[in-house]
Structures are given as structure tokens and as C-alpha cells.
Symmetry: C2
Subunit: 153 residues, 2 copies
């Protein structure tokens, strides 16, 4: 049900590189007809291997020039689902993870500027379960890329 063969991986690679390329074009690269490619893509979407297709936007161009990673420490035992529920309404949260170690979660924030970031941090700290936060402001983005289609190991 979650079988992904070599051809699927090559199709995924193509779609990761350019999600708007046509099935015919992809088919030429993997020696398949366009309908065959569509069938595989539909199956990959259905089985959840592919979650969808999206545009990659330049955050700075949209006025999201400032970002930070925030370690969130919670008081008491909090379920991951409850943390997610509280973080979801904050529009500045672009990603959040529960983690091992001292902190309970790592939250990736994006804001228009330092003042906006400060404001977002304040709202994050105001979430009832949050007891302490440790922020690390991003100075520059060195690298951002999708995971390779097949794990190296």
C-alpha cells in the first residue's frame, strides 16, 4: 500500500524540482506514457507519499524578513496535540516539533521584522502551558532544500 519503486522516486524527483512540469515531459524522462505517469502520481497522492504541490515563495519578498527558532519549555506534562492546538492559531509559527532534551518543543517563527518577532514571541509566551522560552534569531539562511528522494542509507 505504500510501495514506492525506482520509477516513483524519479517521478517524485521531477515533481520536487518542478511541480508544474507536464506528465508528458515527466513521462519522457522515465520512459512512460503521460497517462501512466498520472496514474502513478494519483496513487502517490492517495497513499500519502505525496502530500501535494506548492509554490516556493521568497519570504523576504513578501515582507517576512525575520525568523527565529524558539525552544519552548512547558510546565507539567503536556500532550503534543495540545501544544499543536495552542500554536496553530499563531500565524507566525511556520513549524513546530516536539523534541528530546531539555526543551519540550522547538518552534520556527517567521515575522516581518524584529518588532513583529518580539510581538509574536510575547504571544507565544502568553500561551498558558509555556513556562520559558529560549530564542535564537536567524541571521542568514545558508541552505534550504527538500530531502533527497531516496535516503542515503
Amino acid at each position: 500500500m505504500l510501495r514506492v519503486d525506482v520509477i516513483d522516486q524519479r517521478i517524485i524527483s521531477r515533481l520536487v524540482a518542478d511541480a508544474r512540469s507536464s506528465y508528458a515531459e515527466i513521462g519522457k524522462a522515465v520512459s512512460l506514457s503521460a497517462p501512466a505517469v498520472k496514474r502513478r502520481v494519483d496513487r502517490l497522492l492517495e497513499t500519502g507519499v505525496l502530500r501535494g504541490f506548492t509554490a516556493v515563495v521568497n519570504p523576504e519578498a513578501l515582507g517576512w524578513g525575520t525568523e527565529a527558532f524558539v525552544e519552548v519549555h512547558c510546565q507539567g506534562n503536556v500532550s503534543p496535540d495540545r501544544i499543536r492546538q495552542r500554536l496553530e492559531p499563531l500565524p507566525e509559527v511556520v513549524a513546530a516539533y516536539t523534541v528530546s532534551g531539555a526543551a519540550d518543543a522547538i518552534v520556527h517563527l517567521r515575522a516581518a521584522n524584529i518588532h513583529h518577532l518580539e510581538d509574536a514571541l510575547e504571544r507565544l509566551r502568553a500561551v498558558d502551558m509555556v513556562s520559558r522560552t529560549v530564542s535564537t534569531v536567524v541571521l542568514s539562511t545558508l541552505l534550504e532544500r527538500p530531502p533527497a528522494p531516496e535516503p542515503g542509507q
Copy 2:
């Protein structure tokens, strides 16, 4: 040159939600003809507001089940560009940022499993400029989403 109006924002929203939707479909939503939408999208790509289109893959489905954030401490003064050059060859690095604070950089790693992650960490630590690393293993992903088309502030 980097002007983005309200209609552009709505087009970007649509493309972020589904990069494979047709220009005609987007046009219907923003009350524009398909060629008009195409002109705007082309312009957004040219000015760098849109970087491209990509498929969102389920990392677990492809065997990338383990991830970690790593604080990297470097010895001496190292330029961001040099750090990027050294990180780029490591396929497990999906994102990297220079940051303020004690650490010099934060690296987002994705691996097939804990053993693979350990292996990748070892290769990261072997990079000459790296003096110390602090790893935080991700237990679960609470949230992952693109930034909203317009900043809240």
C-alpha cells in the same frame, strides 16, 4: 521591481495551496483571465517573489523518519558562505541558518533512522571548522506550513 499587490497575494495563496492548479482556475478565483494570471506569475518568478514550484513529500513514506536540529559551534571567524560550502555536500542537511547567540549555525538534519542520523552527525562533526555540536532529536512534527501571504504586521 518587487511590487506585490493584493491580487498577487491571492494568486500566491492559490499556488501555495496547489501549485498544479491551472491559470484559468486561479483566474476565476481572482476575477482575471488566464493570460493575465500567467503574466503575473511570470513576473513573480522573474522578480524572485516566487522561487518555483515543488512537490510536498511525506518524509516518512520515503524512509526519512528521523530528524534533528543541531547547533553548530565553529572555531574562529568563519564566513557564512564557507559554512554553506561545507554543509552543501551532506545530503542529510535539509536546512541551515547562521544565528545569533552562542551557536554559529543551526542545521536541520533528516535521516532514515537513528543510526543514519548518528552517521550524518559524525560527518557533520568531521567538517574542519566545526568545534562542537549540540543535537536535539525531533520526536514529532506538530506543525509545518508555508508563511502566510501577507505578514500580520
